[in-house]
Assembly symmetry: none
């Protein structure tokens, strides 16, 4: 009875829904955001939402996967043009301090990702996905560090895993604090300080 719509159309709608859902989850958190919030923001009907996703949790999980993929892709794209390991890390450490990334959608993405950690213990599936996410982001830095070790840029006795984990801990922690301080948080200087500290720590000369 109903016209078969194109796959693109459906995918587009799905994306739009995810975008609106993210804004809702970012604003209120997973538990407090309601399907009605999402419905109101997306302009869809409740039935439509359930046509695209089978449950609130599925929306959440899909969002996680996508946010991870996109963040990671951005990271990879950004450092692609750099050659030395040091420059790559420097770029990574500066990427978030770059003003262009500080826009609402991106803050929302982090707000939501951090909450994923909170909810992980309650869902084996979520936990597994977050573990993978951690592994992906960590490995990304670990590999650069190994590269730097091999080509003599970095000290050989440093533990890439620890550096990577420390870096991402700092990043996520900072976003956590940002939730409270909102306006005047010294984003840029913090990243630069920590970046300098880490590079200092792993670079060979002095």
């Amino acid at each position: 009875m109903a016209p078969k719509v194109s796959e693109e159309y459906k995918e587009q709608k799905r994306q739009e829904l995810l975008r609106n859902a993210m804004a809702c989850f970012a604003e209120k958190g997973y538990q407090a955001a309601t399907i009605d919030d999402i419905v109101a923001r997306s302009g869809m009907s409740k039935g439509a939402v359930y046509n695209y996703f089978s449950s609130k949790e599925e929306i959440y999980l899909t969002m996680l996967k996508q946010a991870t993929d996109r963040n990671f892709k951005m990271l990879k794209d950004e450092i692609g043009k750099h050659v030395s390991a040091g420059e790559k890390l420097e770029r990574i450490f500066n990427i978030y301090s770059d003003i262009s990334y500080i826009k609402q959608e991106w803050l929302d993405r982090h707000r939501v990702q951090i909450e994923f950690y909170m909810n992980a213990p309650r869902s084996e599936e979520l936990n597994e996905r977050m573990r993978e996410r951690g592994e992906i982001f960590r490995s990304f830095i670990v590999e650069i560090i190994e590269e730097g070790k091999l080509n003599g840029e970095f000290k050989e006795d440093i533990d890439g895993y620890l550096i990577a984990e420390a870096y991402w801990s700092f990043t996520d922690g900072m976003f956590l604090h940002l939730l409270v301080e909102k306006e005047k948080y010294p984003f840029k200087s913090l990243y630069q300080t920590v970046g300098a500290m880490i590079l200092n720590h792993i670079k060979k000369d002095y």
Copy 2:
């Protein structure tokens, strides 16, 4: 079941309730944990819970205040015996790596504190309290750094605020990640690495 009882008795019950509530909140998070969960765990009746606290949120807020106070007191006590600013910071950076602190109650406390940040945007009161908390913990480190600057231990051009904020961001971020990794998280090495990195960064000689 009880006539006039001593104030200690009541305070003890209150503390017991808070302990049980903390365990519930730590396990499921504020929103997902129900009064029934707290009732079941504490062995009290629902009415009894409301005799001690007027709402779920009041339990939560009281918990925050207490957790902050206790964590801060622990911190102060621990560094009291040290003299030089460098030793003090070293102690702080090692305190969480000390195996004796890694017990369930303490992990719960952090789990819950991290969630406070998540919920802050939804409650002006919570937000304000978290801002205060941040200020207290940050100042604690800032003061030691200033002390170190004055007595020549630390470089004069470092920004104490940034160092302090970076340190606590790292700490909270680490606890966030810990939620997912649970067993094999390299607590100790992480703290030592970051501690070394920071001290390296601010100490004058080396």
Copy 3:
């Protein structure tokens, strides 16, 4: 169980709900009547009730407004056909004695209105609405009396406000007593007696 339905359908449901709620409130009073009572009587689900009204109090307040509007409209319609001020008042004084108005829904309406007075001191909004209601009903009679003064039907030195207030006090008080006497309450004769008394008091000759 329902796709997009017409506005009339929704309005009709709302009215049905109000009617059932009125019966519940009339039977038990606002406080004692529960949402479950309303649910049981209306045959709706609990959720459905909250789709139409956001709270028990909103149901109550909506009911008040409607009851006032309808009672007042009835009053206005009834006296529209009369010309002299004396006849108008006579009609008003007889309206409630007319047997056709003594049916359950109408008794319920009064039962509920009287309770509004009881609850007014507890709610500023309710108090304000009741004050307005009083003003509307009083003015209605005051204006007729002024009219009668102008055209020489009534004595010039009578205070319309006092007469109007006395009349409505009598009416509401009578409905209060009716709650206890139920069956054999001499409705008609009471209204006629009081009506005669008042007209006697204000009419010019004899």
Copy 4:
């Protein structure tokens, strides 16, 4: 084990409790006033309250009986000194307009009595007591009217019952309205107007 206290002491406590309970019920109404309110106001313990009365409803019912008795006694005392039926009624119609009666405790008593009517349909016992109360107050006036008829003061064809009922309806209705208007309610003039109207209606000459 405990000392037997005198009966007077107990009765005194009981009265004190009733007085405080009345204030609570007057302020909030029967349903909304809680035992805790009564406990707080009376300074007694909860256990003590239940030593004197077996339930909240018993307090309420006892209060009704007492309020009725006292109001009626006051009425009887007041008119005792008057001889003619006309003077007696005049006194009754003025009694409430007398400034000395307009004090809080007395307003409270009426507030509470009016609510008794509201609650009557829910309790057979309460209903019966209210019916009796109505009968007592009505008869009081009916008898004076009969007296007046016999001694030629009043017209012979008036129905005492209707006059009495109208008078008490007016009185209770006025107290109902008073709840909403609070400050500027024209108590005195209303009573005088209605009193004059009634006497006019029943007195033989003019």
